[in-house]
């Protein structure tokens, strides 16, 4: 049974995806998605309860798995080449070509060294990742079923592209699990590239010019990452003996002499996580249907990048590299949080916030202390859940109001009370104590306290963060002038269930933050940083570090009491009243249209503030890119020295 878990996690969704392509009926497809989801959740939970293990699949009848991987790689690279060619994108084509050449060279020159004995190693970090992918991924895939029906009603594609869509989603889930579990750079590379391919194809799903252009940008940027990944493999293969070259646990288990490959892997991670200067593709990717954004672009695929960096952390300890990584992450954190303030498009806000949080995770990984890495892992978990919720909610909103503009969501609470409530909850779990993301942020701040640069950047970034979140919920709660409340919010049942359960998960995880710490995070840190108690101590009530403590239970209780109090206080008698409009009474029938010049009713309206004067993207694009380029270059440079 144990041995079946990993194949189930990796292969069953892939098989499901293949079937979805073949069985094109809606019912069959839904059933497949549901089945795969069930299998994934089950297997992931089983994997988690089973704990640490190693697993190497035996040969498939007579064929060595490595051959399968090789074949898959060849297909994949060919696909990339074809894609770049048909899309007439010389940059992407050259990158794909470079990779193909490099790969051929690798196979021909070092074919032997690529074989490893330990195919999969299950540690707590991997488990955490698999849980994320499987549980959130399943929820999102289920959510996508009604979503895509509605989506096709808005974007009639003839014939329906849903089979392809779900096939890609399912394949992607398998690949993500593979990526998390594989202990073999060579295999990881394959999974890595599969996620890229799924991502690129899914971005182009709608086939509009904008979608294709965004997809192209994602393609070439991720191919840069692929090249870096491949270069790392090449260098390792060149330098290391057979049988060890590709084993991740050996490479990053502790300080390593192979710093340049590690730096290259970090670079690959940066591209996948859309860190500066690669932020462009993730922003463009927002044209994809929202489940794609939720799944790939916030909670899972982009996490692959930071996952890789966290994995690499032990190898970088006490090197210049780790400092540069920290700096680069912190830089992304601040810069993107700042620019997010000027965004009027909810999905772009979410995208920027995602990039920003990933930056923070990377920065924590770069800080590389037990506390910092704990913070990174916590953030990885909590952010994924909250962000998935937010994306799902944003999708539901978009389908209902036909826009992603925050301004159009003004007063949404009157029109879609449930979705709005979930959105606000999502934001609050991102923003406020005692919820998980904030606990992680606290951990991040405390772990950065001794590093001036990181500290300052963390503080500034956090300040920006508050602004765009609050502004968004502010708009949602702002009562739009003249709009009558329509309390008839119909939501597909699957929306309600998936969003509800993700929301529940977000809250639950937050309440159990000490448990999460003990169960997942502490073992992760202990297992591969080999530092034991240096991180956080979790008692029943508090999360304690050497330099501070977070009274999780106390605050949760206070919050509970406060909310109860608030409800009581707010339930008193209310006298109806018209809003204060400088004395002019509103005209008949229009609540917020007081009489204006010439006694004509003039509607009142207040739009949100986006501080474009200070934070417009264009104003900052140049130095953000330059900074990103310099920092990534510095990363490689420092490693080489």
């Amino acid at each position: 049974m144990r041995d079946l878990l990993i194949p189930i996690l990796v292969l069953s969704p892939m098989a499901g995806g293949a079937l979805a392509l073949i069985l094109r009926g809606r019912a069959a497809r839904s059933a497949l998605v549901a089945l795969s989801a069930a299998a994934l959740v089950f297997a992931a939970v089983a994997l988690a309860s089973n704990g640490l293990m190693r697993y190497t699949p035996g040969p498939l009848t007579t064929i060595d798995w490595n051959r399968v991987v090789l074949a898959a790689d060849v297909v994949l690279l060919g696909w990339f080449l074809a894609l770049a060619w048909t899309r007439r994108h010389p940059g992407a084509f050259s990158l794909a070509l470079l990779q193909a050449v490099g790969f051929a060279f690798l196979e021909i020159r070092y074919g032997e060294r690529l074989r490893v004995t330990q195919g999969f190693v299950v540690d707590w970090l991997a488990i955490a990742m698999v849980l994320l992918v499987s549980i959130l991924g399943s929820a999102i895939a289920l959510y996508a079923i009604p979503y895509m029906d509605e989506h096709e009603r808005h974007h009639p594609g003839v014939p329906s592209r849903q089979p392809r869509f779900f096939a890609l989603i399912l394949v992607f889930l398998g690949a993500m699990n593979g990526l998390a579990l594989s202990n073999n750079l060579y295999w990881t590379y394959l999974f890595w590239e599969i996620t890229t391919l799924c991502c690129v194809l899914l971005i182009a799903h709608d086939g509009t010019a904008e979608a294709v252009a965004s997809s192209n940008r994602a393609l070439w940027m991720n191919l840069v990452g692929g090249c870096a990944f491949l270069a790392a493999i090449l260098m390792l293969a060149h330098a290391q003996p057979i049988g060890e070259a590709m084993a991740i646990d050996r490479l990053v288990g502790g300080p390593t002499p192979y710093l340049v490959p590690v730096a290259l892997l970090c670079l690959a991670g940066f591209t996948k996580s859309a860190q500066l200067p690669f932020q462009g593709w993730l922003l463009g990717a927002m044209v994809a249907p929202t489940p794609v954004s939720a799944l790939l672009h916030s909670s899972t695929m982009v996490k692959a990048g930071v996952y890789l960096v966290i994995r690499c952390a032990p190898a970088m300890q006490d090197t210049g590299l780790t400092n540069v990584v920290a700096l680069a992450g912190a830089f992304t954190f601040v810069a993107t949080a700042m620019v997010a303030i000027s965004q009027r498009n909810a999905k772009r806000v979410l995208a920027y916030s995602t990039i920003s949080n990933l930056g923070l995770i990377i920065a924590c990984a770069g800080l590389n202390t037990a506390m910092a890495v704990s913070a990174a892992v916590m953030l990885l978990l909590f952010h994924a859940v909250s962000k998935a919720l937010l994306f799902l909610a944003a999708g539901a909103i978009e389908q209902r109001i036909g826009s992603r503009e925050i301004e159009r969501m003004e007063g949404l609470v009157l029109r879609m009370p449930w979705t709005t409530a979930l959105t606000v909850l999502g934001v609050l779990t991102m923003l406020l104590p005692p919820f998980g993301v904030l606990v992680s942020k606290w951990a991040a701040l405390e772990s950065a306290a001794r590093e001036p640069a990181a500290m300052v950047l963390f503080v500034l970034g956090s300040a920006f963060t508050v602004l765009f979140w609050v502004r968004w919920i502010g708009r949602l709660m702002a009562v739009e002038p003249g709009r009558e409340p329509e309390m008839t919010e119909q939501m597909p049942a699957l929306f309600r269930w998936t969003m509800g359960s993700v929301a529940a998960l977000a809250v639950l995880l937050s309440l159990l933050v000490t448990q999460v710490m003990q169960r997942f995070v502490a073992p992760v840190v202990a297992s591969y940083l080999q530092v034991g108690s240096e991180g956080f101590r979790a008692t029943v009530a508090d999360l304690e570090s050497r330099i501070g403590s977070f009274p999780v239970l106390g605050l949760a209780l206070s919050l509970l009491i406060a909310v109860a109090l608030a409800v009581i206080l707010a339930s008193g008698r209310r006298a109806p009243t018209v809003p204060y409009l400088c004395g002019e009474p509103p005209a008949e029938g229009a609540e917020l249209a007081p009489l204006g010049p010439g006694d004509r009713p003039a509607p009142v309206r207040v739009s949100g503030t986006y501080l474009e004067r200070f934070f417009a993207e264009e104003r900052h694009a140049a130095w953000m890119t330059v900074g990103g380029v310099l920092l990534t270059a510095a990363m490689l440079g420092v490693a080489a020295l």
Binding site: C582, G583, E584
Partner: protein, 359 residues
Amino acid sequence: MSEGTSVPFGPQHPVLPEPIQLRISLEDENVVQALPALGYVHRGIEKAGELNDFQQNVFLVERVCGICSSIHALAYCLAVEAVLGLEAPKRASYLRVVWMELHRIHSHLLYLGLLAEAFGFESLFMEFWRVRERVMDLLEMTAGNRVIISVCTIGGVRRDIDAEQARAIREELPKLRDEARRLVDSLLSDYTVRQRTVGKGTIPAALALELGAVGPTLRGSGVAQDMRMAGYAAYGELEFRPVTFPDGDTYSRTAVRAEEVFQSIDLVLAALDNLPEGDLKVGFKGRPEGAALARVEAPRGELIYMVVGNGTKNLERMRVRVPTYANIPALLTVLPGCEFADVPVVTLSIDPCISCTER
């Protein structure tokens, strides 16, 4: 759904002492349009002026506005006197100057306080109004009332300033000058005040003239025009040079009014020094027939009364054109481009008086 923000500013708004509504359209707190809605203080005084006895009208026009009240009375009286062919006695003309200038001091100090209040400088507001109380006391002492002093009448003045009172005024005004000097210096040199006023609502001289701006609003744009130069009442016999500041912004307009406080103090003292003996008013018989126009300088600028008599005790027409009326177009032109926070400041910078405007 329209982009941007549209809010009413007034009629009842805490920074507005008077009801007027400005419909403000904003983009990210920058004003793109400001449209006024007036009529909240329109009473119909021009019509009442035709329905009343022309002598009672003096009391009515005083109440067009409580801030420049005596100047309305003066302008009306000058116009009616012109129709009737009267000339007020010398002493009355000098007394008129005294009271008009005291009134101007109170009005300008009031403005300076309100402006400070508009940008939240509460202590300065308090200080200016504290100093202003000195003038109010002088007014009450000499005229018997604080704001509506009712001193002018057709043919002269209704009250006298005796030696005792003149001495009191001479004693009080230098004290007031010292205190006001200190405050005006604080105001005009203050960093935060300059932040809020310099370059805000700039009306270039050409624009000011084109839009018909008058008074301190015009002089704040560097145009030396002041009806007192025409020499009505006793102004022709007193030394007088209009105060101007060149920049046309809120700061300049404020500076003009601030300096005019001192100019007015000098005028009062000079008028008292030269106060001739003589009658307070001339008697008259008959009813106004014919038309006359009187232009005087109210605190906010040129005030015009046109009186058309038809030989009865009721006038055929009483026309009032007040300075704020002339300044509003300029204000509306410079509001777009300001920040929302500047709206009250720039609006107040023309020292708008809506009750004058709407009569």
